[in-house]
Subunit: 320 residues, 2 copies
């Protein structure tokens, strides 16, 4: 399959390296890449991992018109309040009859039902496995492996930055020292307050709820409090009682719809949500037929996110 | 699809109830059931959850010849050393052109490569999702959702009885009091030494390694030690150091093949393997492209095992 990539940062490079490594088994090739910063590159015979970028296409539409791709991989930076610019990129791709994969939680958190409906109407695939837990199967797990099961709720520790910061604070460091540690580890986003105030966790909760529970919600609708008011003293107090504090994204189905909440919760050490630290993340699904089950990833990196995109691509190649 | 069930105990009843509950969406029906104890029942229009058993068929072959089924669900009791009688039942079904689902770890642990090859040769499906972690997707997870990934090892806490016993012993109770507690909870098998000596964990390790790593091994080949020599003092000592003890099944790929080991391991509290208690179980997969990821089930019961069989049935219906 011929792939066009929008947004050519670290995940895109890891993805391109993975395609290169697996090309003898999976005949995918990147035929076009577009970034605001570096410009645009085209080669229907396949671009190298580090393309020679020419001048940028005037618009994403122009880029896609020229790209000769079958699948668009959308990897731009997120605006969580609007889902833009990813949302427009995805719509531009659908309008041209192209399947879409994104690692961008914005569109899934803000406009999933519309995007899914538009893809369905046009007979296209829309995939997003890497959105919440790097490449660990969550959406594909439920879709492929839990037929007939209704997801009635979930609870997840899905944000690395706050886990690193809370870990630092439980060792007596301040919030700001914790932020510095998260930056050193390379997990904090450019603006760490996006994580600290719980926006990232709210986006992931909304994305999960939209896809797994047909919640038709947005990050703004999540009842959200971050970790900004926690102190090292509060964390030490929890530790002394044999407990731990983590920023938890929760959903449960009520008569009036799906309720979503993001909170720093005091967890028993026996609670499986307390069992992942640092960049690892974990999700518990509550179901009707299968009780409670879950998935986790231990210390994922860019390679896993890239794999999530890759697995979506294989899935699309199989289903079309 | 028309289903014949061999072995009609609690899992079979839970499975039959689930089929009944979901029959408007999934048109499966049980057309025959066979047990040594209760006898045999046939009705091509569909048996009720509690069939009226007539005299037993003279053999499983005779039962299958008369059953008019398309899929055989094998739910008999395990002999872990030989995989019998399940193994013969599965071969009898294949010989008659019938797909097979089993919740029985014996055949998968003892003879997986042969069974898979026989099914492939005859164009039949052989499924076994419920074998290691009740209904939680493990085999289907890897097959459906981790394309291109090689499993290079795994570590799992997969045996409920020993978790309950070790939990009791860490509270100061003896091994025998722990066994009594596991019996009260209904998790211990008829012979608890099958669990205590690590046979159950070895069977599950062999089953996982055979399917996920093409190990072509057996439970006998697992380097196995049980929990029989552990004392409440050893558990208290681990607890006092902030550690926990669990019976762990491990596999890793070496130059000379897949090595499997079952041991009571002293785990750090930070180790995710230490985070499930009682009947819950957890598996960490080590992979080439996706780092370390895993799945868990919290306090599963018969319903989950029944769901595992049900999900296999749906998967077969979709793929044939």
């Amino acid at each position: 399959m011929r792939v066009a990539i929008i947004g050519y940062g670290n995940v895109a490079r890891a993805f391109a390296r993975l395609l290169e490594k697996k090309k003898s088994v999976y005949p995918f090739r990147v035929v076009a890449a577009h970034t605001l910063r570096h410009g645009t590159a085209y080669d229907v015979k396949g671009l190298p991992v580090e393309p020679q970028f020419g001048p940028p296409a005037a618009s994403v539409g122009e880029f896609l018109d020229r790209a000769q791709a079958e699948v668009v991989v959308e990897l731009t930076t997120l605006n969580p309040e609007t889902g833009e610019p990813a949302l427009s990129h995805i719509r531009a791709a659908f309008a041209r009859g192209l399947h879409v994969i994104t690692s961008n939680k914005g569109p899934v958190a803000c406009a999933y039902a519309d995007l899914k409906e538009e893809a369905r109407r046009r007979g296209l695939e829309f995939r997003h496995e890497a959105v919440t837990m790097d490449g660990t199967p969550v959406f594909n797990l439920v879709r492929n492996n839990l037929p007939g099961v209704t997801i009635v709720g979930f609870a997840g520790v899905l944000n690395s930055t706050t886990k690193v910061i809370l870990g630092a604070m439980s060792r007596g460091l301040s919030l700001h020292e914790g932020i510095a540690e998260a930056r050193r580890l390379g997990v904090a986003e450019a603006d760490p307050w996006f994580d600290i105030e719980g926006w990232d966790s709210a986006c992931k909760a909304a994305a999960l709820a939209n896809v797994l529970m047909d919640a038709r919600t947005t990050p703004q609708a999540v009842d959200r409090k971050g970790i900004g008011r926690l102190t090292p003293e509060k964390l030490a107090d929890a530790e002394s009682k044999g407990k731990t504090i983590a920023l938890v994204s929760r959903a449960h189905r009520t008569a009036s719809g799906v309720k979503l909440r993001v909170r720093a919760e005091v967890l028993d050490k026996d609670d499986i949500l307390s069992s992942v630290r640092g960049t690892s993340n974990l999700l518990v699904l509550e179901t009707d037929l299968m009780g409670r089950l879950g998935v986790f990833t231990l210390e994922p990196g860019l390679e896993q996110t890239a794999y999530g995109v890759f697995s979506d691509l294989i899935d699309i190649a199989r289903s079309v």
